[in-house]
Point group: C2
Chain length 209, copies 2
């Protein structure tokens, strides 16, 4: 089956949104925790978080301007900090529910039944139930002119996870942690490892580690 | 276990790279196909592709400047087009092997045993063995000042996939397609669906679709 750009643009809006959200492949599943300067907490699910660099440790995420994530964006700009918390199989329904448009003043933590947890000296709330938790400070944002979205970059200031989950070479076994992957807008998946593969070299094929 | 930013910066380089590459969660797995103006093909695996928008249909990906992906970048800037091809369980070892530093003039297609396939009127090569194939044109790039990486945005001009894989609402069943997810730098995973969840509303909990 083949869609040209013109055919994509002529699709019914919901169909197009589902289709185009599926073509990138599997997505990361993170809950972003923020707080207003007055101390009101906010929690929102994001599927656009990607690795930007390891030294310094940087992550990036895409914001669409007019969405339910508006409070997340405003809180990060006001306080300079946010948290990323892996969505695991145990909390994926609660995580999805954070995308509902709750009234102003309602904390998604309370509404969906997740527990805010604070690390000493860090203003933004982590999700207690999440296995892999990252605290970040805002570094920069760049605008994508083509559609007015923003790519925001944060620097890791704190990383919290269970000890037994890190391999000798630093790899975190996020499958063992129960972390889920997202496809499209609303599909949640657990994973099964095929293999970790050795560093690729031109003169030999990769082997399972 | 807890790492501060200072502790992360003092880690051994390889350990830090594995660790920080794991914290974002699962990543998409795509082969990027490009061609030089002279017609020499190039193929490189990317784990940073994300959704940017559905109307117009935009995807984005991060480039580290001094990497094996240099040829991919130069080809896109020279020709204005590239392809994204899902990595499935059938080709994940060949896909990983594209990250080896082959000599100039060697096409990764031939070196790893994947087949270039061309759509009429589109210059960049697709991967014949890939189930979900997207042809894109370069739209813009923005620099991340914090580490000199580039976030590049492309617009979908063509989408090719098997007919039976699209749900009535436009969702592509990429699990059925055998698409894999990546964690860290080198771990490949198949998936098992927990559920598609209904659109979240404040007054009720999400239900499996």
């Amino acid at each position: 089956m083949r869609f040209t750009k013109e055919e994509i643009l002529s699709l019914e809006k919901g169909y197009r949104t589902n289709l185009i959200n599926s073509v990138t492949g599997f997505k990361s599943a993170n809950l972003v925790g923020t707080v207003t300067p007055e101390g009101d907490t906010n929690l929102a699910i994001f599927s656009s978080v990607i690795h930007v660099g390891a030294n310094p440790p940087l992550l990036g995420m895409l914001f669409r301007p007019v969405t339910v994530a508006r409070h997340t964006y405003e809180n990060i700009k006001a306080t300079g900090v946010f948290t990323l918390n892996h969505v695991s199989r145990d909390i994926f329904k609660a995580a999805h529910q954070t995308s509902a448009r709750y009234e102003d003043g309602v904390s998604e933590f309370e509404a969906v039944g997740l527990t805010p947890w604070y690390s000493p000296g860090f203003a933004a709330p982590f999700v207690a139930e999440s296995t892999v938790k990252t605290g970040l400070k805002f570094v920069e944002e760049v605008e994508i002119k083509a559609n007015g979205t923003l790519f925001m970059v944060g620097e890791i200031v704190e990383l919290i996870l269970p000890e037994g989950m890190i391999a000798a070479d630093g790899y975190i076994d996020i499958e063992e942690a129960g972390t889920v992957a997202i496809s499209g807008l609303d599909s949640y998946h657990t994973t099964e490892r095929l293999a970790r593969l050795s560093y690729a070299k031109p003169d030999r094929l990769p082997e399972p580690l």
